[in-house]
Subunit: 335 residues, 4 copies
C-alpha cells in the first residue's frame, strides 16, 4: 500500500482526491490537511461534504510546522490541492522530506519561470524546480511521470483541449499558421469552494471570462507546441468541461486521417471516442474519470470540429492525479 | 406624478423596485441610493443589472447626511430595501422629512417590539413607531395602507402563506386547535445579493433551514391570528416561492365552502385561483406580480391542501410595494 | 458469484442497477433486457448512458419468449425495472423458472389486491402472489427478505418517508389521531426516461402533483400502520428526494426520546443521522446509497420536524434492491 | 390601432408574440390560432402559460378554412410562429387576403429555393414569393421591411451572429479568406414546445448539435456575404443565446477600428455595447428585447473575440418581429 496525504483537502478537488484515494485498493489515505488558519480545521471532511459520510472518516488537520515536519515519516506521497503560489512554496519542503509530490495547482507546469510573473501574478519562489517537474497529462507523459518526484498535474481546460489536439498535432493535421479555436465551458466548481459575488447562485449564468488572456492559453500552447485561441466560459452547472475546438486541417485531409490520428487512444480506458454523430454531453462525463471525444470533418472546406468533455474535478484534476500516481507507483488503475 | 426614491437599490429587490417605478406611468423614479460605504456607489444600476440597460439609467448614489437632508425636497416617497435594523433606524428620519415610507424589510412589521429582540437579534430603535405602521399585505389592509405614512410591506413567505390562509381563517375553515403546516421553498434571491459560502452556486441544493425558528413564523401567526408550523427551504432556482399548506378543516367542510372562502379574490387581478386540478409552478409566477392559488379537499378526512406561488422579489417584495403605493397615492395599478 | 439479469435496463433505474451489479464483487451481471418492441433493443447500454462507457459493456437484448425461457438456466436472480402491470404479469413466469425476483415496480407491494384497482388502474393479474412477497425496505424487513423469492423493493417516496417515520411509530412518538404531514420533492428521473410534455425541460419547475391521491400514500400508510398526508412535488433537478415531515408528538416528548428512537440506525451504514442543526441537501445524497436524516423538536408545542433525503434512483430504487440482494443471498455489502 | 393575429400561438414564440402585441399601445391582438387538429384548441392561452394570466385573455382558436377566409376582414397583419413548410404553404393565402405577413419560421429567408431542398428537407411550395420577402433583421433592413408585405423575421442564431459580424464586415474588418468561428449556446425553448426524449429534462446537458450542417449556417453566410464556421449547442437553461465569435482581423487593425465599426449601433436602444471588460451573461438578456455585445482584440495576433447575447424568444423571434412591425407600420417602439 502506498501511503498518501492530501493537502488542501477542504476544497472540491481535495474532497474528490480523498474519496478516490480512499476507494483505491492500493493506496492508503493517511491524512487530510488544511492551512493552519482554516475555519474548517478540526472538522471531519464529511461534515463539509455529507456525500462522503460512510466513505471518508478523516478530519481536516491544520498543516502547521510540526505536522509538516512529521509528514516524511507518515506518508509516501502528497497531493497538493492548493493555490498556485502556496504549492510553489510548499513543494521544496515536501521534496526535501523525500516525498513524491503531485501538485494539482499550476505552480509547476512551466519550465519558464517568466510565465508566473506574466500570467499568475507572482515571482516563482523555486524556479530551479521547474525543469524537474513532469507534466501530468497521463496519456502523454507516462515515461516522465514514472521517473519524477514532482508531478505537475495538468490543468482542467488544458486536459480537455490537449486530449483532443495532441493526436492531431502529432499526425500533422493542424494547418501551419492556423490557430485552433477552443471554446470551452466549465462548471462552477472550477472556481473553487469560496464565497464570491461572481460565484453566488444568482449571479451565475453562461458567460465568457478571461478572454484572450487566460493562464491556460500558454499552458495549452506550450504542451501543444502550436498557437491557439482559447476562450473559457462559466456555465450554470456544478461540474464538467465541454470544449468545442475548430481546426483548420491541411488540404486533402480525410476522415480516415482523423481516425488514424485518434487511434492512439485505442487502448485507453479513459479517453474514449464516441461513435460518429454522437456528441458528448457534460452529464456524460460528470462523476466519471473519462474524457469523451467526438469529431466531424468538412473535407471540402478543410474544417474539423472536435468536441472534448471531461469532469473538471476528475479527469481535470483528481482522477488524473490518480492516473499519475498509478503510473508513478506502478500500480493497477483502481479508478 | 408621485416622486419616489429607492434606498438600498443595489440589491435584488431594490433593482426590481427601480424597474417597476420607472415603468409606472404615474410614478417618477427620482434617485437610487446605496449606503455611503457601498462598493457600488457611483455605478449605474444597469452596470450591476445589465437587463436594465435601456430601462433604468440612474446611478447608485451614496446616502450620506447631505443626501438624506435633501430628500424631503426631492421626493414624495421612499422605498427601503435594506437590512431590518438599518431600516428601523432610518425610518424616523425620513418620516420627519414628511416622506411616505415603504419599508420592505421586517423592521416595522410587529407592533410588539419584543419580537425584534427574540427573532431579529436587536432592540428596536424606535418602538413608538411600530403601532403607527400599516402592514402592507395589499389585498387585506387597503384601508390602513391608504391612511399610513409608514407601510411595512409584508414579507415574502408571509405573503405566500397569508394569501392562502386568511380567506380560510376568515371563513372559519381552520379547525380550532390545529396548526396548518406550511412548507415553502424559496429561490436564492431571497437571501439577497451577497457573497456567502451557503449561497455559492455549488453549495445550493434543495434543503430546509430555519426549522421551527424562522422569523417569518411569528409574522404569519400575528397576521393570521392562528398558530402554524412553518418550514422554509432553499431551492436551486433564482426567484419564486412555492408554499404547500396542509390544513385540518372542520367536520363537514365541503368544496363549496372552500370556493366561497376564496371568492374574496374574485375581483383581484393579482391573486388568482387556478382551475381545479391545475397546480402552480414556480415559473408560472417568476417575473410576474401574481399570486397563484390552487387547492384540493379530502372531505372524508377533513384535510385541505392549498398551494400558493409568488415571485419572492415581486409579489413578495417590489410589486407588492407598488400595490401599496398605488393604494396610498390612489393611482391606477400600472403593474 | 450470484448471477443477475436486469429486465427493463434502458430506464434510469435499470441503468443504475446494471452499474451497481457490475461493480459488486459478488454479483455477476449476465444480461440486460428490454421489451421485445423497444426502439433501444440491440444498442449497447452505454450508448444510451455514455457515463457507463468503460463500466458496462452489455447490449440491450429483446426479451422475447425464447429469451425468457432460457433465463432459468442463465441466471439466479432478476431485477425488474418495468411498469407495474408488466412486472405483475412477468413475475409468475420468472418465479416458475426458479428465479429470485426483485421487483422495483409497485406491482407486488400490497397484500390487498384492491389497492391495484383503486390506485394503480388495473386488476392485479396474480393476486395469489401478493402475500408471498417481502416488502423490500432493507433496514426493516431483513428477515422476510432473506426467506422470500419475490421481493417488492420499496418505492422511492415510501423509502424516504418510512425511514424517518418508522422509528417514531415503533417508539410511540406519533400522537394518536394525528396525521404526519409529508411534503416531498423528487427529481425528474422519478418520472422515468420518456418523452412527455410535462417532463420536457422547459416545462419543469417546482410544483406539486398527485395531491391527496398519489399511490405512494397507501404504501406509506400500510407499512407505517398510521394515516399520513402525503404531498409529492416535482423539482427542477435530475435526481434525489427530500421529504420534510411534520409530526405531532405526545405531550412530554423530549429530544432524548427522539434520539432513542433513531438509535435503531446506530449500526446502519446506509441510514445516517446528521449532527443536530445540519440539514440534508439533495446533492448530499445524489449518487450515494445513503438516506440522511435530521430533526428538530419544539417540545413546548409538541411539534417535530424530520427531514429525510435519498437518491431516488439509488436508496429509492437500485441500491436498495442491492441491499435486498445482499440480504437474500447473504453476501457482503459491496455498495 | 393596427390589428394583429398570431398563428401558431401555442408555442413558446407564439405566446411571447401574444404578450408583446397585447402590451403594445398601438397594436391590437385580435385572434390566436392553432392548427385545426391541435390538442390545445379551445383552451385559453393562459392555461398553457399561467404567467399570462391577467395579461392575455384570448383562447386558442382552430385555424380551419372558414377562420382563414375571414382573417382578411378581421385583421391587418399576421405573425406566423409555425413550422417552416406550413408557413411556406400558408403565406400565399394570407398575402392574397391583403394581409401583411411576419413569418418567424425559416420558410422565406432565402431567395434561392434550393436551400430548402438542401437544408430544410422540402421543396419550397411558393418559390416565386421568395424574392419578394424582406429579411427581418430590424437594424439592418429597415428600408426593405418598411415596403414589404412578407417579412421573413431573422432566425435566432443568425440574429445573434449577424448583429456582431455585420458591422465588422461592413468596415472591412474580417480578413479575406478567413472564416469567423461562431460557437453558440441556446436555451431549450429554441427547440420548441414539444415532447421529445432529447428535450426531456433529464437528457438535457450542454452539448453540440448540427455540427457543420446546421441550417442557420447558410442563413448567416448569405446575410453576411462571408463564409463562417457555425457550431450550435444546447444548454441546460430555458431561454437565451450566447454566441462567442472568433474573427481574424486584417493586419494593423486597432481597437479604435473596432469601436468605429460598432458605432453603427450608437442610436439603437436594442443593440447595446457593454463597457470594455464586461461580458454579457445569458441572464442579462433573458426576458429583454436587447442584444448585448462586447469584444476584445489581440492586436498582435490579429484575433478579435466578440460575444453576443440575446433572448432567443425575443430578439431572436418575437420582439424582433415587433421591431419589424413597428417599422412596417411606422409606429413607436412600444417594446
Amino acid at each position: 500500500m502506498v501511503k498518501v496525504a492530501v493537502i488542501g483537502a477542504s476544497g472540491y478537488t481535495g474532497a474528490e482526491l480523498a474519496r478516490l484515494i480512499q476507494l483505491h485498493p492500493q493506496f492508503e489515505l493517511t491524512h487530510l490537511y488544511v492551512s493552519a488558519g482554516s475555519v474548517d480545521k478540526g472538522k471531519p471532511l464529511a461534515q463539509l461534504y455529507p456525500n462522503l459520510i460512510g466513505t471518508v472518516d478523516l478530519p481536516l488537520l491544520p498543516l502547521d510546522e510540526m505536522a509538516l515536519a512529521q509528514l516524511g515519516n507518515q506518508t509516501d506521497a502528497v497531493c497538493l490541492a492548493l493555490d498556485h503560489l502556496i504549492s510553489a512554496e510548499l513543494a521544496p519542503k515536501l521534496l526535501a522530506l523525500g516525498l513524491v509530490v503531485f501538485d494539482l495547482s499550476g505552480g509547476h507546469r512551466f519550465a519558464d519561470a517568466s510565465v508566473y510573473s506574466n500570467f499568475y501574478g507572482f515571482e516563482h519562489p523555486a524556479p530551479e524546480l521547474l525543469t524537474t517537474a513532469a507534466y501530468g497529462l497521463a496519456e502523454w507523459q507516462a515515461e516522465r511521470i514514472s521517473a519524477a518526484n514532482l508531478i505537475a498535474v495538468a490543468g482542467c481546460y488544458p486536459t480537455a483541449s490537449l486530449s483532443a489536439l495532441k493526436p492531431l498535432k502529432q499526425a500533422g493535421l493542424i494547418s501551419d499558421g492556423s490557430r485552433p479555436v477552443i471554446n470551452a465551458v466549465s462548471g462552477v466548481t472550477g472556481a473553487g469552494r469560496k464565497a464570491t459575488i461572481n460565484n453566488s447562485f444568482c449571479q451565475v449564468s453562461l458567460t465568457p471570462y478571461g478572454v484572450l488572456g487566460h493562464r491556460h492559453q500558454p499552458e495549452i500552447e506550450l504542451q501543444l507546441d502550436h498557437e491557439v485561441v482559447f476562450t473559457p466560459h462559466l456555465g450554470a452547472f456544478k461540474r464538467g468541461i465541454l470544449a468545442t475546438i475548430t481546426v483548420q486541417v491541411p488540404n486533402g485531409t480525410t476522415a480516415a486521417d482523423i481516425d488514424a490520428a485518434y487511434s492512439c487512444y485505442n487502448d485507453s480506458s479513459v479517453v474514449q471516442l464516441l461513435p460518429t454523430g454522437q456528441w458528448p454531453k457534460i452529464d456524460d462525463v460528470a462523476n466519471t474519470p473519462n474524457c469523451l471525444l467526438s469529431w466531424k470533418l468538412d473535407a471540402e472546406r478543410g474544417v474539423l470540429v472536435v468536441v472534448s468533455a471531461i469532469d473538471n474535478l476528475l479527469k481535470g484534476a483528481a482522477s488524473q492525479a490518480l492516473q499519475c500516481m498509478n503510473i508513478r507507483f506502478a500500480v493497477e488503475s483502481g479508478l
